[in-house]
Symmetry: C2
DNA sequence: GTCTATAGCCAGATAGAC
DNA sequence: GTCTATCTGGCTATAGAC
């Protein structure tokens, strides 16, 4: 019993190493340019061994997305545990976390066009469950922030949710980072500013 | 002389048909999933004939991007010709145009990771020239809008420019459209609202 | 310049020994 | 479960006739 558990633990560690490589490669090159050979080489095992753990390239990507959502949920729970925060501050915190994750090269991005990949994700119960839970947790904060008058009440919560989600694959931070003239902190501050206050910023009396 | 000119015209019409197909397919499936066979079938010619017009798949995509930038410049000039507009209103108009183009399925999107494609684009003088001209035209409006106090002066113009550019590949409109509950006009209005005023909207007195 | 046919290559997936 | 070696399909690109 103990041996079996140990074996399973070894298995999980190896699979976690695989998912880590996939996560990094997805963040770096995207799904289409990532090859299974690369993943195998990065993990340090043979390609055929990969296929003993995951049935397809799509399954690899799905596993990376599941882990991302799990980490997102962990982050959400950590932020939810902070006392004396407004809902807007919590939304701000989770969005900043996503931006820093992206700037660190750890945010896997998937092409929204790829149909085989979409099919795999929509068939994954754990992925869908996690996505729904993340959406619901954020949705509660959004509704609360609107009740507080902190987020524009005329925006449907759906619009707010998608806008927050979209920061995870926003190309602006990477472009600003590529320029090399700004720190990650500065970049995140600006993107958060445009996200919350918009380009026009707080309305000044004369405007 | 007239015959030669006529021949060249026929050639350009055919090439324009090719670029139209590429534009649509790029908007629909993206570069990696678009195959040259599809383009040929869509145009109604043999694949080998395509390669008489364009040297590679990357060249096809580059041609589509050049045409997009040309159309963008045309739109910019039309907006510039409007009398009695503030710089912010012109920026608003061109961004709205990009959003409608995207919702119409006519906005080609390229993967930012693909290196062979990047190389092709960076080697294309007409692409780079057009990109620079579009950036400069928008840059003038941005600086003017900041001088007017309409756009937050603490934002570097670079940040504003990238934020405007990013609307062209913003995933939010497509998600909202996929929901099927909103009109294109409504979607564009919301996205423009979040772009200019942010999620928090105009600061209310109590906030 | 257009076509048919095919070369050449690469990447996802598998066979089968250990 | 791990490996080496291989299969298979699809895609870019080209050869060569007309």
């Amino acid at each position: 019993m103990a041996r079996l558990s140990f074996r399973e633990q070894v298995l999980r560690v190896r699979e976690d190493a695989i998912v880590s490589s996939v996560n990094r490669l997805l963040a770096d090159k995207g799904f289409d340019l990532m090859t299974v050979d690369e993943v195998a080489a990065d993990v340090g095992i043979a390609k055929a061994s990969l296929y003993k753990h995951f049935a397809s390239k799509e399954a690899l990507a799905a596993a990376a997305m599941v882990r991302l959502l799990q980490r997102t949920l962990t982050e959400i729970e950590a932020i939810a545990a902070r006392p004396d925060c407004t809902a807007l501050q919590r939304l701000d915190a989770v969005t900043r976390w996503a931006l820093y994750t992206q700037l660190a090269g750890e945010m896997p991005t998937l092409p929204s066009h790829n149909s085989s990949l979409r099919a795999e994700l929509l068939a994954s119960k754990s992925y869908l469950d996690l996505l729904m839970e993340v959406s619901e947790r954020l949705g509660e904060w959004i509704v609360q922030a609107q009740a507080d008058g902190a987020i524009a009440p005329e925006l449907p919560p759906e619009v707010v949710l998608y806008t927050v989600f979209a920061r995870a694959c926003d190309p602006v931070p990477a472009f600003l980072k590529a320029g090399g003239r700004f720190s990650d902190e500065q970049i995140v501050d600006w993107v958060m500013h445009t996200c919350l206050q918009g380009l026009c910023g707080p309305v000044r009396s004369g405007a």
